[in-house]
């Protein structure tokens, strides 16, 4: 879809300023693009390449390594069901099966109305709360077929709009601090000498 908006470019410049080298801001900027469009659009990657003085191929080269970045539109809500060992031991596959039946799609697929994508994912660090899932990276614990259905109903009715922003938005709070000092190597040495 699109290049980054002016507002996001301003945020991008702030982020770039927190790293000694521009390319370190690449993954955070890809997240910004995904937040804007729900996926990482090709034009956005070209724009990021311009901001970081990289070739677009370098941007895609890094982006394509990471599972969270999507290069095509996905559902407004991505439901990631963990099937790793702790969840498998307490019924994760039955839960995934139920989810597929309920939504009429297979793992990796998106519903026709663009509302839901489901994926069978690796461990999400909620092992003692198994079986667990994330919807747009917000957790649901000890999920049963009944609580899964209730979650879908709530998402469809818009009840969870505040708690679960559309796919692409991670933290609702950003670091806003600017770097307290620059030219770090020299000042760091001076700081050590002063002690």
């Amino acid at each position: 879809m699109s290049r980054l908006t002016d507002e996001r470019v301003a945020t991008a410049r702030e982020i770039i300023g927190r790293f000694p080298r521009k390319k370190s801001a690449l993954i955070p900027l890809l997240h910004l693009a995904q937040e804007q469009d729900g996926y990482v659009a090709q034009d956005a990657m070209v724009h990021i390449a311009e901001l970081l003085e990289l070739a677009p191929a370098e941007v895609y080269g890094t982006a394509s390594f990471y599972e969270m970045f999507k290069f095509h539109p996905v559902g407004k809500y991505c439901i990631n069901i963990c099937t790793n060992i702790s969840c498998q031991l307490v019924g994760a596959w039955n839960l995934l099966h139920h989810a597929e039946e309920r939504l009429g799609i297979k793992s990796g697929g998106t519903t026709d109305d663009g509302m839901f994508t489901i994926e069978d994912v690796e461990c999400i660090a909620a092992c003692t709360e198994a079986p667990a899932l994330q919807v747009n990276y917000r957790y649901r614990y000890k999920v049963t077929p009944e609580s899964f259905d209730a979650l879908i109903t709530e998402l469809e009715s818009g009840k969870l709009t505040d708690e679960v922003p559309p796919h692409g938005t991670l933290a609702s709070v950003r670091q806003t601090t600017t770097q307290a000092w620059s030219n770090r190597g020299v000042q760091e040495q001076a700081q050590v000498d002063a002690r």
């Binding site: 390319k23 370190s24 990471y66 060992i85 461990c123 933290a171 709070v173």
Partner: protein, 449 residues
């Protein structure tokens, strides 16, 4: 069953409703250790306390943190502290809690560590999937800057440090320290060859870099506040302090517990009412994973072993990232083995051929056994491929790869096939599990995955 007890060190604010806020943190004693360090201790004195605590790194390898800090070459600047919050080892669940429930404790630990290391820049790398941890840390960091606990001239001293909060985008391998550094540089998260790229010497931007785990640094305020000796007095002399363990799987009350290190036993964690309250449905342990998916499995004969690093190492496995997974007598061991191997096959970064090809082969062979298409020679084939990734299939594992991810896929195979060979043979012959075990795919065929 009586269990050893100790102070709650890093989980002390988990029950404090506003423990994650700046006000709540300070009210409960927070940032006192940082004030103490920058106002009355030299960096070397802080380092000495951490050394005296003998705290073993909590990320997986268990290397003593104080010793690691000593590896930075003198006089080379800039130097960096990188915090590994990329918790993704299957079964592991503790760093996320520490980041969500007590973000200031971690920040205080980071700033104190930077003081000891003479570093002026830290990078806090959180796992991409952990949105709540990211926002809690972002808020905490903004508040800590506003209150002069991070930034320029901290607490009125001449010490300054910046912390940059950033996060990944879904890749288990980035938990490996050199892969994390690559990711921080904006690259694909592929591990670097060691030597020459030991982070302490050539790390982030080829500068000296210390990479520490979240739980390790969360302990630093206590160590500096109370003294390393007090910390060392807790637990066993060979595994000091308190430590967090996540116990999941077939137990009555799974949970994350902070327990005295080195003296608590696996049986206590599984059976004591304070912890997991026994195996579900009154059952018994068939096998358990003592330290994350990469670890060799343990069996009933290991239940009374203490969670003590040298003891567990000597028995042929590891405590790793504090991830304990209990499997009762109904567990389908072929399916359990396959699921862990599939994880490593999916997460292999692809840099080294033995891992990229080997883990994929192992997964496919196990899959066809599960699907009822196993061949009599498949068990030998599993070992043959395993040999190519980890010659000798021993512990600690040897590796034909740059990092330990590939050899980690061998652990579940060596564990499950050696102990439960008859279950694999039965699958190959009959296309289904032995009587008395439950397939996890009862309504959902494995062929889907």
């Amino acid at each position: 069953m009586s269990v050893p007890t100790g102070p709650r060190i890093i989980t002390s604010r988990f029950d404090v409703a506003d423990g994650h806020t700046y006000a709540g943190y300070v009210r409960t004693g927070g940032y006192a250790s940082l004030r103490k360090a920058v106002s009355s201790m030299t960096p070397q004195q802080v380092h000495d306390e951490v050394k005296a605590a003998e705290i073993q790194g909590r990320g997986g390898a268990g290397f003593p943190a104080g010793t690691k800090w000593g590896f930075l070459p003198a006089g080379v600047h800039p130097r960096y502290l990188v915090i590994n919050g990329d918790e993704s080892e299957p079964g592991t669940y503790k760093d996320r809690l520490l980041m969500e429930r007590d973000p200031h404790q971690l920040i205080e630990g980071i700033v104190i560590a930077c003081y000891a290391l003479n570093a002026a820049q830290a990078f806090l790398y959180v796992r991409g999937e952990m949105a709540h941890a990211q926002e809690r840390l972002a808020q905490a960091l903004n508040d800590a800057y506003a209150n002069n606990m991070v930034g320029k001239n901290i607490c009125g001293s001449n010490f300054s440090v910046d912390i940059t909060l950033t996060w990944g985008a879904g890749a288990y391998i980035v938990g490996e320290e050199t892969a994390l550094i690559e990711s921080l540089e904006g690259e694909r998260g592929m591990p670097r060859l060691k030597p020459p790229f030991f982070p302490a010497v050539k790390g982030l931007y080829m500068q000296p870099t210390i990479v520490n785990n979240v739980e390790t640094l969360a302990n630093v305020p206590y160590i500096v506040g109370r003294g390393g000796g007090d910390f060392k007095a807790i637990g066993a002399p060979t595994s000091t302090g308190m430590r967090m363990f996540a116990v999941s799987g077939h137990v009555n009350t799974p949970g994350v517990f902070e327990v005295p290190n080195g003296v608590t036993t696996f049986r206590m964690l599984f059976e004591a009412p304070e912890y997991c309250g026994g195996i579900r449905n009154g059952g018994s342990i068939k096998a358990f994973i003592p330290g994350g998916a990469s670890a060799m499995w343990f069996f009933p004969e290991h239940l009374d072993m203490a969670l003590d690093k040298p003891t567990v190492d000597k028995a042929g496995s590891m405590l790793g990232s504090g991830a304990i997974v209990a499997m009762d007598q109904t567990t389908d061991m072929v399916a359990a083995c396959w699921r862990i191997v599939r994880f490593f096959a999916r997460e292999s970064c692809g840099k080294c051929t033995p891992c990229r090809e080997g883990t994929t082969w192992l997964e496919r062979v196990l899959k066809r056994i599960l699907d009822g298409h196993g061949r009599p020679e498949d068990i030998d084939l599993l070992f043959e491929v395993s040999e190519s990734i980890s010659p000798g299939i021993a512990w600690p594992p040897r590796q034909t790869t740059i990092c330990p991810l590939g050899p980690s896929a061998v652990s579940p195979i060596a564990s499950a096939v050696r102990r439960f060979r008859h279950e694999f043979e039965h699958y190959i012959e009959h296309g289904r599990p032995i009587d008395g075990v439950e397939s996890p795919f009862a309504t959902h065929l494995a062929s889907h995955a």
